[in-house]
């Protein structure tokens, strides 16, 4: 188990480094000069040049990359030139907002997706099953930013039920929850569909399993069989799915954060790219890709914890 996790992690590190190398190469060819953008219209040529030197931009790309990489391993992602604040701090300040958003999205997708998938499986072939099936496909198909804009239009602008912008008042949990509902719905709605579908499929498969027949033959109630014996197995693929899903949710959180003017990693990167704040871009992308890879490893470990069979196969 441990060896497996370490191996996965090792591969993850390689993937992340290749990804960062690619990002560096891309960032290097982006037109536009971060130094002159940062200083604004009143900067003199000398100031721009000295800032460039401080940002390390006068160095060749591989030196920039090697420097970045060496210090990244020590947990130092460099400093933002203008404010002099550590990039890691800036990124980690924003991370909780995105994590909350993703957690909210996962809550939506799990709280709606698992029951819907379950109901669809239990009522297999019936009208309810069909409706759930079509709805699942539909929410998967519609892009999250369209959902974001429409839900903003309907619930925040027209009905005024929920706040439109921001992450809520700091320290006020109710206000933060209220601000979380719409953005997390926009990010998570598609995943309601994915989860409903996968739970339905795996529930149907599980209900056919012989241990379910055993349970029935022992006179266990259908409720216990469905929700305790079968569901426990049927939700397992959900975890792998969510492991992959978190990467996608990170992506769609960019839109949700822009539409709902929420702080977060996505917005941070979006804004940093537009002003060529490279330390922030590379730092934030590094943190998110590491996060993504780690999440996948964790998903595997969690599955191992929940499914003794998988655990056995790792030993």
């Amino acid at each position: 188990m441990l060896r497996y996790a370490l191996k996965r992690l090792g591969l993850g590190i390689i993937i992340v480094s290749v990804a960062m190398m690619m990002l560096f190469a891309m960032v290097y060819v982006i037109p536009g000069d971060p130094a002159s953008v940062a200083l604004g219209p009143r900067a003199t040529q000398e100031m721009v040049e000295s800032l460039r030197a401080r940002m390390g931009l006068d160095q060749p790309i591989w030196i920039q990359f090697a420097r970045f990489y060496m210090s990244a391993f020590r947990g130092d992602l460099g400093t933002e030139v203008l404010s002099g604040r550590p990039v890691l701090t800036v990124v980690l300040e924003q991370l909780p907002f995105t994590l909350t958003l993703i957690a909210g999205a996962i809550s939506w997708s799990v709280l709606l997706g698992i029951p819907l998938g379950c109901i669809a499986a239990v009522k297999r072939g019936g009208f309810v099953d069909r409706v759930i099936g079509v709805l699942s496909v539909a929410v998967i198909a519609v892009p999250s930013f369209v959902i974001a804009i429409y839900s903003l239009l309907i619930f925040a602008v027209a009905l005024q039920w929920l706040p439109a912008i921001g992450a809520g008042e700091p320290g006020n949990v109710i206000s933060q929850l209220r601000h979380l509902i719409l953005p997390s719905l926009a990010v998570g709605l598609g995943w309601v569909g994915y989860i409903a579908r996968i739970v339905r499929a795996s529930m149907l498969e599980t209900l056919e399993a012989s241990h379910i027949r055993t349970a029935r033959a022992f006179g266990l109630t259908d409720r216990r069989i469905t929700y305790s014996y079968a569901l426990r197995i049927a939700v397992l693929p959900t975890i792998t799915l969510l492991g992959v899903g978190i990467g996608h949710m990170l992506s769609s959180s960019v839109f949700a954060e822009i539409v709902f003017a929420r702080p977060g990693i996505g917005k941070l990167v979006y804004e940093a790219i537009s002003v060529r704040n490279y330390p922030i871009v590379t730092g934030a992308v590094l943190v998110t890709t590491v996060f993504f890879v780690v999440v996948n490893v964790i998903a595997d470990i969690v599955i191992g914890a929940l499914d003794p069979r998988v655990r056995a196969s790792f030993d």
Binding site: S210, H211, T214, R216, F218, L220, I233, D307, P308, R309
Partner: protein
């Protein structure tokens, strides 16, 4: 007293290409404290029979005629869902064929054994004590420690013993054993059979033992029925059927039983021909297509000919059939 009495039971399945008659006019009975064997090829309707008794027919299955009397009073075909469920596990217990898949892989053995005692008023601790007692009875070592383990941590033989322990935990009056030894190797098979026999005598229940292994049937069962294509073609005491089989199918089955040869094999050698299409049953005898004695008479439904008291064969040619397999 008869624990289980099945009369004229027919079961149909609705399929896309029409109704499939899985059981036709099946009659049989399991007397108190006896072991009754059911033998037949795959697809002969054994599983449907069990599911019909347990009330676990698939959605598209339907009992079209007959009754299943349990302990003389309840007709299981008409029993309401909850009443039926109360019998399952309590009065009628089952051990299934596949020990690997029979236990829920993500719940501990202890939890599963506790769950099936949900009707009792015992405390959690007392339930676990009862589980341990049963595990000891089926000779699982270190029963206490093993209670918290998951099914994959047990060997196949142990799993089947756990399944038996679970089945007998509530001291049922009828134990249905659905090929409980098929997936095990030969030495294990013997110990399981002996264990079953011993526990049956201890508890004093009846057993409906399904197998396609004639040797096991011969060793274990007091009575047996032979099924073919959803019909009971022959039934009687084990002794009668083995020594004086009168249905051509039974005779062929016995003739090619590897157990009568020198070594055991797990699969029956095939009889020439194939099972009839159950969506489109032939008129009359169900075996006629594969029977060398078949003639015009066979296109009418054969009677259940009584060969000896309690020994029936559904055939027009019970006299002539003694010739079959003689030369084999």
């Amino acid at each position: 007293m008869t624990v289980l009495d099945i009369r004229d039971l027919s079961v149909d399945f609705a399929t896309e290409s029409g109704a499939l008659q899985a059981l036709r006019k099946v009659s049989m009975s399991v007397p108190e404290n006896r072991i009754v064997g059911v033998v037949g090829e795959s697809g002969c309707g054994k599983s449907t029979l069990i599911n019909a008794i347990l009330g676990l027919l698939a959605d598209n299955g339907e009992v079209t005629s007959g009754e299943i009397l349990f302990e003389g009073t309840h007709d299981l075909t008409t029993l309401a869902g909850t009443a039926m469920r109360d019998l399952r596990g309590q009065k009628i217990a089952t051990v299934f064929q596949d020990p690997m898949g029979a236990l829920n892989p993500v719940l501990s053995v202890g939890r599963q054994m506790r769950d099936i005692q949900y009707r009792s008023n015992l405390s959690r601790r007392e339930k676990d004590a009862r589980s341990i007692e049963m595990l000891r009875k089926v000779r699982i070592p270190d029963a206490e420690q093993r209670l918290v383990q998951f099914p994959h941590e047990f060997s196949g033989g142990m799993k089947q013993r756990i399944a038996i322990a679970m089945a007998l935990m509530m001291e049922p009056s009828l134990l249905i054993a659905d090929e409980p030894t098929t997936a095990l190797d030969a030495t294990l098979e013997v110990t399981i059979i002996e264990l079953l026999k011993e526990l049956q005598q201890q508890i004093g229940c009846s057993v409906l033992f399904i197998s396609h292994h004639l040797g096991v049937i011969a060793e274990l069962c007091d009575e047996m029925i032979v099924m073919y294509a959803g019909e009971v073609v022959e039934s009687g005491t084990t002794r009668d059927v083995f020594h004086n089989a009168r249905h051509p199918y039974t005779r062929k089955l016995l003739a090619c039983d590897p157990a009568r040869l020198t070594h055991r094999a797990r699969r029956l050698p095939t009889i020439p021909g194939t099972l009839p299409d159950l969506r489109n049953r032939p008129e009359g005898c169900v075996f006629q297509a594969r029977c060398e004695l078949a003639d015009a008479t066979c296109s009418r439904m054969p009677p259940d000919e009584e060969i000896a008291p309690g020994h029936l064969a559904r055939c027009w040619h019970t006299e002539a059939s003694v010739m079959i397999g003689a030369g084999a």
